[in-house]
């Protein structure tokens, strides 16, 4: 479903962020991406939603080679991928409802679809009551749940989360993780880059570790640190 073959990414300034990474992720997996800062986790996620192109190697996503993909196809790829970031990336001048609806507006969905889908995902993330509130009046955990609702509203086959709990306290982080596990149980593949070792250790999911741009560990049921 997601395949990387000998992927190397060197940025224009000469920094080698990934070198010779080969991996395969099946549909419905929950994968933690761990490793120190600068190990290449963010670069890997950027390659997956084609924010960046690999310098060498092949990436196949949902049967399509990202290298051979025309620029015009990229938006349609991204509609099938939900993205969640540490900084939420919500629009402050839009309400919770409008922020989620925005994901449908930009792909040209109808009013009726928007009115139908948005309340559904908002109740999934437990924010049905706060639909008309502005993001600044929400807690960090609530804001991240809005961004999850926004990522979910297009029924993505894959959710990429780049340190989603980075700005949240431990308890809120756990609420969020339960939500993501729930989403994963419904069949959505989740790739999550994180530093939250306690979460990784407790959930016992697949763990891929990067160090200095190299894939150094890939365990089916792993922990944050290698138990050597």
């Amino acid at each position: 479903m997601i395949q990387l073959y000998n992927v190397t990414k060197t940025y224009d300034n000469g920094v080698k962020a990934l070198s010779d990474v080969t991996l395969r992720i099946q549909k419905g997996e929950f994968v933690f991406l761990v490793g120190p800062s600068g190990a290449g986790k963010s670069t890997l996620t950027k390659l997956l939603y084609r924010e960046e192109l690999p310098s060498r190697g092949q990436i196949v996503l949902d049967g399509k080679s990202l290298l051979r993909m025309r620029p015009g196809e990229v938006p349609y790829l991204r509609r099938k991928i939900g993205m969640i970031f540490q900084d939420f990336r919500l629009l402050p001048q839009k309400t919770v409802f409008e922020n989620v609806a925005f994901a449908l507006e930009v792909i040209g969905a109808s009013r009726r679809d928007i009115k139908k889908s948005v309340p559904t995902v908002l109740s999934m993330v437990g924010l049905a009551a706060k639909a008309s509130v502005f993001p600044n009046h929400l807690s960090g955990g609530e804001q991240q749940r809005v961004s999850i609702a926004r990522a979910l509203v297009n029924n993505p086959f894959l959710i990429i989360a780049d340190e989603p709990t980075g700005n949240l306290d431990p308890e809120t982080s756990w609420d969020l993780m339960n939500l993501l596990v729930d989403i994963n149980l419904r069949g959505t593949t989740i790739i999550m880059a994180t530093h939250a070792w306690d979460i990784v250790d407790a959930l016992k999911k697949r763990v891929i570790e990067l160090t200095g741009g190299k894939l150094v560990r890939d365990e089916k049921v792993g922990a944050y640190r290698c138990e050597a």
């Binding site: 509609r79 990336r89 925005f102 994901a103 507006e105 792909i107 009013r111 297009n154």
Partner: protein, 295 residues
């Protein structure tokens, strides 16, 4: 395209215009001024050409005859000129008739001319019309060589001067318009660039959510088109009312000048100005969008 999407485009474009209000006003102003200049010079050229055409059709050759020739000789000359194929009409105007005409032209000041009947200084003359304007000049030169002819007069230079003026106005207007037009394009490009950078974050989110490039660009394109069209609309209004009042004034004070008021000429002019404004707006937007919204 869905109605809600179109609404979205217009709402976003309008928001940007308001957000950058000062630069928007400046852009609109420069577009308006450049199209105002273009419009006025086009009207000037149109009128100069039409007046020149009128003059050309009314140009006749006046041949002043030498003093001491008799009526037989005049008759012979008249026949000789009539024999030329391009000549359509030859009319003899005697000294006395010429003086009468002059008196008429002087109107209530004709007292000045009293006493001239005794010793009329005006020469006898022949007035000649030709079928085609281009033949006026060669014919006039031919007539000068006749023995009985003292002097030949025709619309020397007047037509040429008018055409030269119209050409000069056309060139000067075009150059000014192009310079101002380029300035307008870049001012709009700056406005759009500001709009784009004010929305950097939003654009990033849109792209992350899978918006197509055109979906992201369209509101900005619309903003530029709106600025250009508003500017050209102002120019059209100014030119229209200015010209209307000019026609009104000229009808009263200079009734012999016929200004162009043909709808078949003026409507395309208005359309061209509006189209140009729209084009300037689009060009400005495209410059910024190409530079700042690629990929």
């Amino acid at each position: 395209m869905r109605l809600s999407t179109i609404k979205y485009y217009f709402r976003e474009a309008l928001q940007s215009v308001i957000r950058n209000s000062w630069l928007s006003v400046a852009s609109v102003g420069v577009v308006a001024v450049s199209l105002l200049i273009l419009g006025s010079s086009l009207l000037l050229v149109l009128n100069a050409n039409s007046i020149a055409a009128n003059l050309e059709s009314s140009v006749e050759i006046t041949v002043f005859l030498k003093d001491k020739i008799n009526s037989d000789q005049i008759q012979a000359l008249e026949n000789k000129i009539k024999a030329q194929p391009e000549v359509t009409e030859v009319k003899f105007v005697s000294k006395a008739q010429a003086l009468e005409e002059m008196k008429k032209n002087f109107g209530d000041k004709q007292d000045i001319l009293t006493g001239l009947e005794e010793k009329n200084p005006l020469p006898d003359a022949l007035r000649i019309k030709t079928s085609v304007v281009e033949q006026v000049e060669p014919l006039a030169h031919q007539l000068e060589s006749f023995a009985q002819v003292d002097q030949v007069r025709y619309g020397q230079g007047v037509v040429e001067k008018l055409l030269a003026l119209s050409k000069w106005v056309r060139t000067a207007g075009l150059v000014t318009m192009v310079l101002l037009g380029v300035a307008a394009v870049f001012l709009i490009a700056t406005t759009i660039r500001l709009s784009v950078s004010a929305r950097r974050k939003e654009i990033g989110i849109m792209k992350m959510l899978g918006a197509t490039n055109w979906f992201v660009r369209f509101p900005f394109l619309l903003e530029g088109m709106f600025l250009g069209l508003t500017g050209s609309l102002l120019a059209v209004i100014a030119v229209y009312f200015g010209y209307l009042s000019l026609i009104g004034r000229i009808e009263i004070s200079l009734p012999f000048i016929q200004l162009v008021s043909d709808r078949n000429v003026l409507v395309p002019l208005v359309e061209a100005l509006l189209g140009l404004g729209l084009g300037i707006g689009m060009a400005g937007s495209m410059i910024s969008l190409r530079k700042f919204l690629n990929a």
